[in-house]
């Protein structure tokens, strides 16, 4: 059974390591500030007791006042999973650091989010639209998108 | 990478194909040879019962495609809804069967026939009388086990092959 790690434990560890990086702590997730996302992700991946080597998915949710980017991680070695989230409040030019350097699997998914939600991933080597054609106006998955 | 097994694997494979040459083919010739379709077939039309329908429009709310259009009026004398129009655009219908499941009064059935190709999209719209059950438009047993029992048993390919090898 994959164990979903408790948000409090991880948040404690992260707070110790990167003070001020945690925005909110949920039951099975933490919300980190987007500027410290890369450092947190690297810590989660490379720490022996956590070893989140497997990247399940990344997605984004539009909550009108902010975008929430959700990363689900799993560890094949320890068989546990965890969710980290980050928020960007800028609607015009939302930017999140790309985790493609840590997990290759984020490649197409970040492009997909860029395409449909309009969130830019800094450091992505090939950030182009994935499904829609170049020159398409708007980002369909945003809640305020109208034909 | 080597030619490891001296071509034995090649010959084994050829034995399998030559055996199939002697076996009976598993296909059936459609327009002449018709197999019995499943008793629960969701054919591409809907069967509607005017008597049972109360005009509650649950089917229209459930339909994920919005293919069902129902117009009702209140009959004040009998104090009940009366269905004025019941129209299904089977061109939009995806035969998911959710409306049949949702109907609280068992007034809706999936159709059992399947050869309903038309030349124009407009011909695919069924309304009122075209939706009633008739000998040409039997109802399917989908979600209605009492109808399913009366329909012919489905022909299965697993039975067919065993039959022919004898």
């Amino acid at each position: 059974m994959t164990v979903a790690l408790s948000g409090k434990d991880i948040a404690g560890q992260l707070e110790e390591k990167f003070p001020g990086s945690i925005e909110e702590t949920g039951q099975e997730c933490v919300v980190v500030k987007s500027d410290s996302l890369l450092a947190v992700a690297e810590y989660l991946k490379n720490t022996g007791s956590l070893a989140f080597d497997y990247f399940n998915y990344v997605t984004a949710v539009d909550y009108y006042s902010y975008f929430e980017v959700v990363y689900q991680l799993a560890s094949i070695k320890h068989n546990h999973s965890f969710v980290i989230k980050t928020r960007c409040y800028d609607r015009e030019n939302p930017t999140v650091p790309s985790v493609i350097g840590l997990w290759q699997g984020a490649n197409f998914q970040e492009r997909e989010i860029y395409d449909l939600m309009g969130i830019k991933f800094e450091g992505h080597p090939n950030l182009k639209r994935l499904f829609l054609w170049e020159g398409f106006q708007g980002h369909p998955l945003r809640k305020d998108y109208l034909q | 990478m080597k030619f490891e097994r001296y071509g034995i694997g090649l010959i084994k494979g050829m034995m399998v194909t030559i055996q199939h040459l002697l076996r009976h083919p598993t296909v059936s010739q459609y327009p002449e040879q018709r197999l019995n379709i499943s008793r629960r077939t969701r054919g591409n039309e809907l069967i509607w019962s005017r008597e049972k329908c109360t005009g509650c429009a649950t089917c229209a709310k459930t339909c994920p495609q919005g293919a069902i259009e129902i117009v009702t009026s209140t009959n004040l004398a009998d104090n009940k809804y009366e269905v004025e129009t019941y129209r299904v655009d089977t061109g939009y219908c995806i035969q998911c069967g959710l409306c049949v499941e949702a109907c609280p009064y068992d007034a809706l059935f999936m159709g059992y026939s399947f050869e309903r190709a038309k030349y124009r999209r407009g011909d695919l719209v069924q309304s009122d009388d075209e939706l009633l059950e008739s000998p040409e438009r039997p109802a399917s047993g989908y979600y209605h086990p009492e109808i399913a029992e009366k329909l012919p048993e489905q022909t299965l390919l697993i039975d067919k092959i065993v039959e022919k090898r004898k």
């Binding site: 290759q104 699997g105 499904f131 | 097994r5 598993t26 459930t62 499941e101 979600y143 048993e153």
Partner: protein, 373 residues
Amino acid sequence: MTTTEMMTLKTEPFMLNFGPVHPSTHGVYRMRATLDGEVILDIEPVVGYLHRGIEKLTEERTYSGIIPLTDRLDYISPMSNNLGYCLAVEKLAGIKVPERAEYLRVIIAELQRLANHCIAVGSFLNDTGAYYTPFMYAFREREKIIDLFDMVCGQRLTYSYMRIGGVSQDIPDEFLPALNKLVEQLSRWVDEYDFLLMQNEILLARTKGVGILPRETAINCGISGPVARGSGVNWDLRKADPYSVYDRFEFDIPQGENGDCYDRYRVRVEEMRQSLRIIKQAMNDVPAGPVRADVPHLIRPPKGEAYAHVEAPKGELGYYLVSDNSIAPYRCHIRPTSLINLTALREMVKGWKVADLIAIFGSIDITMGEVDR
């Protein structure tokens, strides 16, 4: 100029489009390949020709109205898609599924795995050039499975059989005897299949050592399913994170060693045997009882979010649902197995020949409906 320089042929790379209309891109996938003669220097995948905006559509539909949409994701194995979605909603709303429905779900999902692997193996062998023979045999066997699906749900491709809180209807009386017969025939057939091509020298030469996906890359790229297991990753959600009643059955997880095309093919054939094993165990103790929990048709799950994943035939298929306590989900993200499995394609095909590109692509087994959504 030295002699060696004079001897070296000057070549010039050229671009070639594989797809979107090509016999073996399994739909409308397009690879913009840079070739040097027959050798592939680079490929760039181009997707989106089948994009229907399913994730956007889900935001306007009721929770049960999404089930027919999930059929159209991976249209080779709709039952697994249904199952994954229903699990996610059940997790979100906290619904307990009756025992009988759980068993039926497992049987149906494993049959679906068999049907999917029939197509995967058949079309992979077809891609290596076996002229439609294994393809036809595989489709014949799939047909038998489809017959059973037709029997339980009345449709042959878009089943929509699973419902939130169970399955749509109970199985008919003739289902279990037919299943018994099917399992018996299928295990015979898998052996015959082995005989046809498993030891064929040409197939071995074409697939062994071709398109190697190392274990580390597989994990790093988030690859799942038979492709990952072919590379030796011991990761099967049926064992690692058992959903439904999978923890009650005994089965093995086949794994490859080298991560080449042949291993992926082998893993699929072995998985078919394991699926048959699960079905045999499950069909003997299907309990009696209801097949559907009492769930309202327009269900309103409480505010919150849930992620549920299943081991679909192609890999980990997940649904991330966010609910705002209305009749439609606020957001439904689908973790597309096929799209993520394609991540490593570029590394896998570099330096191989055109013929290998097709074989490697075929061995990943994708469905465009799921890639583009």
